[in-house]
């Protein structure tokens, strides 16, 4: 019996290691070939080079795309986090009649195929005589990011003791000051996590940026456009490797903030993508 369990543990452990390798190894091909001294993405490797990174640094179109991505990402992160704070406070602090369907509606963009949301937005914007550009991309990204901001912040609001807020009220602070002096410092790690996560989502998002962006490419759209030219592929890999590293760092930072000072770092507050 005992031996059987140990065997099971060993088999499952081996499986887990293989699975993690399966998750990571395919993606590692991008950085691997980005240092390869050949325009062909194939084995055997020809030798080390940094020239794809150098050519990337010198590319003006890429700089413009990067600036676009940053503008959209920061706007999206700020607005969706503010909306997330309001929404999370509302659903965790008040008993709202009909709360379930309302929250479900806010979460809906998580499951509706992005292409349909993008086409519907495109159609409405053009019909209303609006123009496409960074603003419309940001609008699409906010729609996608609000659910994530809500989830992150709801677990933070639920995680801290409500009696602190009540105590502040009882001691004569009004709602506004209670928010700034009690609620805000307590949910701050959640706010930072939400800002970082929504920024990453926006920064990496392709569909909305591609269809709602017109002539203003963000980085993923810039990359997509480069894919048509085999000669530019190694440069795309170099750029991709940089984006991967940046995302990983931002997300790790977000995780760190999200779990700070929470006693309830149990499974319940894991974000379900």
């Amino acid at each position: 019996m005992k031996q059987g369990t140990r065997l099971a543990a060993r088999i499952l452990g081996a499986y887990a290691v293989i699975y993690v390798a399966y998750l990571y190894v395919p993606v590692l091909f991008l950085p691997l070939f980005s240092f390869n001294d050949s325009i062909y993405i194939s084995f055997p490797l020809r030798g080390w080079t940094f020239k794809w990174y150098e050519s990337m640094l010198a590319n003006d179109a890429l700089h413009r795309a990067l600036v676009n991505s940053l503008k959209v990402g920061l706007t999206t992160a700020f607005i969706s986090t503010v909306l997330g704070i309001l929404g999370a406070k509302a659903v965790t602090r008040y008993r709202l009649p009909g709360q379930k369907p309302v929250v479900a509606m806010i979460m809906l963009p998580l499951v509706v195929p992005e292409i349909i949301l993008a086409m519907a937005l495109l159609m409405v914007i053009l019909r209303a005589g609006g123009s496409l550009g960074l603003v419309s991309i940001a609008a699409g990204h906010i729609l996608l990011c609000v659910p994530f901001a809500m989830v992150v912040l709801m677990s933070r609001f639920e995680g801290f003791d409500r009696s602190l807020e009540e105590a502040s009220h009882d001691l004569g602070e009004n709602g506004w000051w209670t928010f700034w002096r009690v609620t805000f410092p307590n949910v701050l790690p959640g706010i930072v996590a939400s800002l970082l996560l929504t920024f990453t989502i926006s920064f990496d998002e392709f569909i909305m940026a591609f269809f709602l962006g017109s002539t203003e490419p963000t980085l993923p759209v810039f990359m997509w456009n480069q894919l048509r030219f085999p000669k530019l592929l190694p440069g795309v890999l170099a750029l991709g490797a940089c984006i991967l590293i940046a995302s990983v760092l931002v997300v790790l930072a977000a995780e760190w903030f999200r779990r700070r000072n929470t006693s309830d770092s149990q499974s319940g507050d894991v974000i379900i993508g």
């Binding site: 993606v27 194939s42 084995f43 292409i115 519907a120 996560l197 894991v270």
Partner: protein
């Protein structure tokens, strides 16, 4: 401008009215979020629904008298039927593969990892936050004609010319999607496994259940909500995936999203694109509903 006493009174009355109704205050707080989501999602989707009954007559010009032609076409044209069926079966296979592959891992983290659970969780969720486009793109690098697999096998002398069946077909789409969505399956399954009361397992063992029987009688039924959530979270978005079929699918691997995009883009037939979008969303919603319902019933009967 100073408020006169009557205005002040109305204002404080209004405050009192809102203050006494916490539900209303809550909704007031929620209203900006609701308004933005409503404007950015409900209005466009409703607009799409209206559009699907129109007829395109020229560039940005429509016959708005109302017709069911777009739906008739969406259901009867062979090309659409092929794409619908292909999208559904690609997503179905993807969902099955991701969930089956993720379950043992979630099981391992929930029951066998004692310390550093969170390290494992972060390790398996991290890729989810990296660029979807890049994760898909890496499979183009791996499976391509001159890609990693082909050139690797050739330089090892195992094949003499590149295998051309690796990419640009539905199988490549399934392989790529399975990898790209793997992280989404793990979490909900892990959460439901983690929630299982360990004393139930001890009770089953004490009453003489073998680990095998125990797994099927206790663990699997209790993990079902997580498994269902994983299925839904993967099946719905993958049916409408655009990036993967475009990058690795080739013309044999095109899915319904490609035709939706075509109708709104070069095809410039918005009403048709709208009808196909809504039809596919409805089909998916019905399938998912039926799936969840029957899975719940099946497990209910067993318990």
């Amino acid at each position: 401008m100073p408020l006169d006493s009557a205005q002040t009174r109305t204002l404080s009355q209004a405050r009192g009215f809102i203050g006494r109704r916490p539900g209303l205050r809550g909704y007031l707080l929620l209203s900006p979020t609701l308004m933005i989501v409503g404007t950015l999602m409900l209005i466009p989707v409703l607009g799409m629904a209206v559009m699907s009954f129109w007829q395109q007559t020229g560039h940005m010009a429509f016959d708005m008298s109302g017709t069911l032609n777009n739906y008739a076409e969406a259901f009867t044209r062979d090309m659409y039927r092929v794409l619908f069926l292909r999208s559904l079966s690609i997503s179905g296979l993807t969902t099955l593969a991701t969930v089956v592959m993720a379950f043992p891992l979630a099981f391992f983290i929930a029951f066998y990892v004692k310390r550093h659970k969170m390290v494992w969780i972060i390790l398996v969720t991290l890729p989810f936050w990296t660029s979807y486009l890049l994760r898909v793109f890496s499979w183009k690098v791996i499976l391509g004609y001159n890609g990693a697999v082909n050139s690797g096998l050739m330089s090892l002398g195992m094949i003499s010319e590149p295998l051309d069946f690796l990419m640009y077909n539905p199988t490549a789409v399934v392989i790529t999607l399975t990898h790209a969505w793997a992280t989404v399956a793990i979490l909900p399954i892990y959460v439901s496994l983690e929630k299982i009361d360990r004393s139930l397992l001890e009770a089953a063992t004490d009453l003489g259940d073998s680990p095998f029987v125990r797994f099927f009688r206790i663990i699997l039924p209790l993990a079902l909500p997580g498994i269902l959530a994983a299925c839904v979270l993967i099946f719905i978005p993958t049916v409408g995936d655009y990036v993967t079929p475009s990058l690795v699918g080739g013309s044999d691997g095109y899915m319904i999203a490609n035709v939706i995009q075509f109708q709104f883009g070069r095809g410039s037939n918005w009403p048709s694109g709208a009808a196909i979008s809504l039809t596919s969303m409805t089909i998916v919603a019905i399938l998912v509903g039926a799936f969840v319902w029957s899975a719940r019933r099946l497990s209910g009967r067993r318990g």
